[in-house]
Symmetry: C2
Subunit: 286 residues, 2 copies
Amino acid sequence: MGDDCAVVRADADGPWVLKVDPTLEGQHFEVGSRDALAIARKAVHRPASDLAALAAQPCFALLSLEVPRGTPPSWIRQLIRGVETACRRLGGELVGGHTASSAPRLALHVTWVGRSVLRRPWSRRRARPGDLLLATGAFGGSRLGKHRRFQPRIREALALAASGEPVHAAVDVSDGLALDAGRLAAASHLRLVLEAGEIPIAPAARRLAQRTGEHPLSHALSDGEDYELLLATPPRSLPGLLRTAKRHRFVLSRLGRFEHGSGVYLADEAGALAPVEPRGYVQRFV
Amino acid sequence: MGDDCAVVRADADGPWVLKVDPTLEGQHFEVGSRDALAIARKAVHRPASDLAALAAQPCFALLSLEVPRGTPPSWIRQLIRGVETACRRLGGELVGGHTASSAPRLALHVTWVGRSVLRRPWSRRRARPGDLLLATGAFGGSRLGKHRRFQPRIREALALAASGEPVHAAVDVSDGLALDAGRLAAASHLRLVLEAGEIPIAPAARRLAQRTGEHPLSHALSDGEDYELLLATPPRSLPGLLRTAKRHRFVLSRLGRFEHGSGVYLADEAGALAPVEPRGYVQRFV
């Protein structure tokens, strides 16, 4: 810091992993929110969640900040300190940035430079027919609070990578379970069959469903902002990965399987398949 | 590309150099400008200019883009292609990014990951008493066009670094010659004496002065957005650096010297010194 650029030293060869994400007032947090720590944390965690999907440790972060005219300097300092703290808690460091004032809305653009612990980082393109779809955590209802409080699954990703069990593909869920899992399937040129009875539904999805009248599974499949990790693994990896999850005390569930073909399907208890549309699909099934 | 993160491989140890800069509608380019290529180029070149000040080659870029609702997709594609081209022309590569729509104004946040050709990159903090202040190019009047067309001084910086001549400190001029040179002096705990007769004044500064009624030197000292490179070097480096500049066909001038003390001073032909204030100072001298 102090110079215009951050200078960092690499203590080994890559692969380095680079990611930028914007966190925007009115889109990722409420207009006028003054909760500096929650905003800072979300801005740091959103791109870090993508690093988890490549089994990468966050190392260096940059913040490009746009603040509206009249924002109290003390609040801006609190926000930046919040970003620093959130970076440190992930084992990384805020090494530089830029603040522009007189912006029409508060916006935080955080870039992460991380390093994958794998020589060949996970990709979303290498799932194989017969692979299982596994997921950390539970899905749905994030808007009731998790979207502000989520932890990117760095710790879980590094533990799973260190297990040595083959993982063919991975992605984090930001836009919705069905959508992001479908992207992984499409990128791998495969069909994904989700087991309706196996989807881990978050308690918040059930609470939200009571308000919206939708089925909790609908929220789990489509709400988004879950920031959980999806993995495509061969069946033989399952026991070792489950042991790893148990040892590190996190939830890992089996949600479905990849097959030759294309599209995303939901299987009911009897095994009957129904296609899942990318959006607004769930009311037709549940 | 394709995955959420960019994966890059480092073929040697660092030092890596990281920089993010925003390029904002209404601040760095005119509100409503449709000149996609000029906007793209400036967004790429602004942070690259900071890399030049650390003798760093731009390697990998990320773009976080905010576009207003209703922006034609074809124009957005043109903008992104412009960013890709500008990155390639600097010897780097756009490896990832994010586009957010429905923004209140167009904003491009470009992050550069570069690598310094120097084991110990230049800094703004290591100028020494007796050092000369050198600069590439000429100053002032950037708002008449150069602020859109400037080339970051990457090529020049790499040539000067490769000369092997000692350079103690460097900075690029984005906010104004007097201001940025003063920051270098302050960071090095030194006084800077600028020779009024030696400041290279851009033709645009003379044209602008005819409109504004100010002295061209006033524009050269304070306009900003020159994106030239300032260097603090021991006098013995001067001949070798000038030869390097001549061989690579760029202008390198000697503007002043660093001394024990603090502040920025302007010396007239007779050697009389007058303090230079960080802003709005020039009318008092010229």
